[in-house]
C-alpha cells in the first residue's frame, strides 16, 4: 500500500514537473517545426461586455485586482489630465514589457474610462484554451487579435463603433529586454480608419518588477510608472504608416519625459536628440541590466531630508 501511494506521488510529481502543471506547456525546440498549425477561430467575447459580465468585472477589478496589484507593486500614475481633453472612444497605445502593463494601465484609468475600455490580446496566447480566454475576457475585457499574419479580426472596429476605447500594444508581444521593439501598423490603421484619437501611454519599471518568464512580481513592491501623453489625431493627408511613425515618436518622447522632466524632453525634441526607445546597441546583457533597474528609488520619497 505504501509503495502504491509513494509510487503515485512520485508519478504525479514527475508528470506535474514534466508537463508544467499550472504553467504554459512548452514544445521541445527540435519539435517546433512539427507543431500542427491551429485553425484560426475568433473566440467570441461579446458576452464579456454585457451587463452581467461587466458587473462581475467591476467586482474583480476593484475588489480583487486593484488591491492585489497595489500590494505587489508601487504604481505611480501621471498625465491623466489628458483624458479631460478628449472624448471616448480612444486608442491607448502603449509600450509592452510585462504582464503588469495591462493591470497597471487599467487600474490607473478613471473609473468611467476603465469601465469602457477593452484590451487587445494575442489570440494565440490568451485565447488558446477556453479557460484562459474566459478568464482574461472576464477580468480584463480582452478581445482576440491575430498577430501571426492572420487577418485582423473584425472585433476592434466593432468595439470602436460601439464606443469602447481600446488598449493596443503595437509591439505585438512583450519586450524580451525591456526596451521598445518595432511597432506594427495595426493601431495606426485602426485610428486612421475609424478616425479616433490615439493616447500614447508608457510604462516604466514593469520589466524590472516582472519580466518575461516570471509568473509573479518580484518581492519588495517595486515601483512602476505609467504616463499618459497628449492625444494624437491622424491628419487628413497622413497615411497610416506615417501616423504610425508619429505615434512611436510620441511614445519615445513620453518615455524620455518620464525618465527626466517634461522640459528636458521638450528641449530634446527641439534638438532632435530624443533617446531612441529601442535602446542603445550594446551587448544584450547590458540592455537587460539597464532595464532591470527600477525607475526610481525603492524607498518612499521623504518630505524632509533625514538629519545628518
Amino acid at each position: 500500500m505504501n509503495n502504491l501511494v509513494r509510487g503515485g506521488v512520485d508519478d504525479v510529481r514527475l508528470v506535474a514537473r514534466g508537463w508544467r502543471w499550472g504553467r504554459r506547456p512548452l514544445v521541445p525546440r527540435s519539435a517546433e517545426p512539427y507543431v500542427p498549425v491551429k485553425e484560426q477561430t475568433v473566440f467570441p467575447t461579446a458576452w464579456s461586455r454585457r451587463p452581467a459580465a461587466r458587473a462581475v468585472r467591476e467586482v474583480v477589478q476593484t475588489a480583487g485586482l486593484a488591491p492585489l496589484f497595489r500590494s505587489q507593486v508601487r504604481p505611480h500614475v501621471e498625465g491623466l489630465d489628458v483624458l479631460d481633453r478628449v472624448e471616448p472612444p480612444v486608442l491607448f497605445v502603449a509600450n509592452h514589457a510585462s504582464h503588469l502593463d495591462t493591470p497597471l494601465l487599467l487600474c490607473s484609468l478613471p473609473t468611467p474610462w476603465r469601465r469602457t475600455t477593452a484590451v487587445a490580446a494575442a489570440a494565440d496566447y490568451f485565447f488558446d484554451t477556453w479557460w484562459r480566454a474566459v478568464g482574461s475576457a472576464l477580468a480584463f475585457n480582452t478581445f482576440p487579435i491575430e498577430r501571426r499574419g492572420g487577418a485582423l479580426s473584425a472585433t476592434p472596429g466593432d468595439l470602436l463603433r460601439e464606443g469602447w476605447s481600446l488598449v493596443v500594444f503595437p509591439e505585438g508581444t512583450r519586450s524580451s529586454d525591456g526596451w521598445v521593439g518595432t511597432f506594427r501598423g495595426g493601431a495606426a490603421r485602426l485610428a486612421t480608419e475609424y478616425g479616433v484619437p490615439v493616447v500614447p501611454v508608457v510604462h516604466r519599471g514593469t520589466f524590472a518588477a516582472m519580466p518575461r518568464g516570471q509568473g509573479w512580481p518580484s518581492p519588495g513592491r517595486k515601483p512602476v510608472t505609467v504616463r499618459f501623453g497628449e492625444p494624437l489625431r491622424a491628419r487628413d493627408d497622413e497615411t497610416a504608416s506615417e501616423f504610425g511613425v508619429r505615434i512611436r515618436a510620441a511614445v519615445a518622447t513620453l518615455l524620455d519625459e518620464d525618465a527626466t522632466t517634461w522640459w528636458e524632453a521638450r528641449c530634446r525634441i527641439a534638438n532632435e536628440t530624443t533617446p531612441d526607445p529601442a535602446g542603445p546597441r550594446v551587448a544584450q546583457w547590458r540592455r537587460v541590466w539597464a532595464q532591470s533597474q527600477s525607475p526610481m528609488s525603492t524607498t518612499r520619497p521623504r518630505a524632509w531630508h533625514p538629519l545628518r
Binding site: V15, G18, W19, V27, P28, R29
Partner: protein
Amino acid sequence: MSRPGFVLEVDDRTPPLVVHEGEGFRLEQFPLGTRVIYAPESLPGIDDVEAVITKALLEPEDSEPLPALLQPGMRLTIAFDDISLPLPPMRGPDVRQRIIEQVLTYAADAGVDDVELISANALHRRLTAAELKAIVGERVFRSFFPQGKLTNHDAEDRANLLHVGLTEDGEDVEINRRAAESDLLVYVNINLVAMDGGHKSVPIGLASYKSLRHHHNSKTMLRSHSFMDHEKSHLHHSAKRMGRMLADHLRIFTIETTLNNDVFPAPYDFLLKREWEWSLRDQATVLGARRALSVAPGKLRHKVFQGLRAPYGVTGVHAGETEAVHAKTLANVHRQQRVDVEGQSDVLVLGVPYLGPYNVNSVMNPILATCMGLGYFFNSYRGSPVVRRGGAVILYHPVEPVFSQLHHPSYVDFFEEVLAESTDPAVIEAKYEEAYATDPWYVHLYRTSHAYHGVHPFYMWYWAAHAMDHVGDVVWVGADRSAVQRMGFRAASTLADALEMVSGTVGRSPSISYLHNPPHLLADVHA
C-alpha cells in the same frame, strides 16, 4: 494531414518520454541531447476498403484479373498470414477476411468447387479454431472449417509436402503439397513491416524445415543488413530465389495489404501521441494506468494487454504478380514508417513492448524478448544501423524467466540447456539445431498441440545475431538478472546505471538514440 516522422533532440523543455517494458511502460527522463526517433503519424485509412479490394482484384499488377483465372473444376488454394500478423491483432473485421470473402465470391460465381484455405504458419504454432475464425470471419469459417478445408499448414506432414526443386544456389524448395499442386494459389498477406510479404510469403509461410534452414540460419541473419531492407537482406535474397522458382511451377496470385500506425485503441491512444502534446486527460490516463498496472495481478495485466485489438486503418491493397505487388506495398509501408536519421549513435535505447509475433495470446519469454529487441527493433533500419559498430544497446523489459509450456516447450530446454553452454548463434546452430529440429516429442507437440516447432527458439536467437555481432555491450533495464545473465547480457536498475555500465565501451558522454517504437518505424540512417 499526417505529420512526418522526425528526430527529436531532448532539451530542457522535453517531458519524460514513454518507454515500453513488457506489460507496462515507464516515463523516462532522457539525458539532454538524446535523439528520439518518432514514427510518422498514422496515415488516414481508406474509407471504402471493399471497393479498393475489388479494384485490386479486377485490375491487378502484371496479371489477369482474378475472375479470369478462375474456372470450374480447378483446384484453388487460399493461403493467408497467420496470427503473428498484425501486431497487435486487428479489431474485426480482419482485412484478410474481407479479401478472402471477395475472392470466394468470385470463385463461387466461377463455379470453383475445390477450394481449400491454409494458414501459412510455417514452423509457428497451430492456430486454434477461434483464432482462425477471428482471421477469416464467421462465414468463411463456417463454410470450410468443419469440412477440414480450413487448416493450419503442417511442416512435418511428409505426405502433404512437395519438394518442388532446387534454386540455382542449391536451396531446397519444399512447400505445402496442396498449395504446390493447385491450379491457382492466392496468398493474402498483411504487410505490417518492410520485412514481410513479397517472396517471403509463399516460400517461407508454407515451407518445411528442410527448405527454411537455407535462410533461417545464423550466417544468413548475420549478413542481412538489415532484414527490413529486402535489397540488402540475404534472407530475402534466398526467399526471392525460391519464390521465382516457385512462380515457374505454380500460378500465384498475391494480395498484399498495408496498415496505418493506429496500433493502440482508446483509451491507450496516448501511447501514439507525442508526449509534449498530451492533454490533461492523457496525463491523467497515464497516471491512472501506471497505478492500475502497479497493483494489478500479473494475470489481469496479461489479460488486459493481450486483449488489446488495434483499430488499424487499411492504407493499401494491391494484387497480382508478387514482385510488382510488393514494390507498391513497400512504398506504402515506407510512407507510414520511414524516418530519416542523420548519423549513428554510440548507444541505442529500445523499449521492448508486451507483444511480438510469437507470443500473441501467450507469454513473452526471455528468448522472444531478445528476438524482439535485438532482432526486430535493432533491425528496423535501412542504410546503417542506428548504433555504431562496437556501440551499446540498452533495452527495457522485465525478462522474467517465464515460459508457456503449451506454446514454447522447446524454448524452456533451449534456455536451460543450450544457452547454458553457449550464446554464440553459430556454435549453437552447429551443435544443437539438428537435434531440436528433429526431436520427436517437439515434432509431436508441433503437429498435435499448439507448440512452436522445436527449432523455433534457434531461429529467434539467429534473428538477434546481427545485433550481437555489431554491438559491444547489451544491458537490460529493469530485467531479471539471472535471466539476462543466462543469455550473456547484463541487467541494470535504471537508465543511469545502464549508461554507467556501458561507459567502458562508449565513454562517459555517449551519443544516445532512442527508437520510440511502437508504433512501428523504420529508421533510414544516413551514416
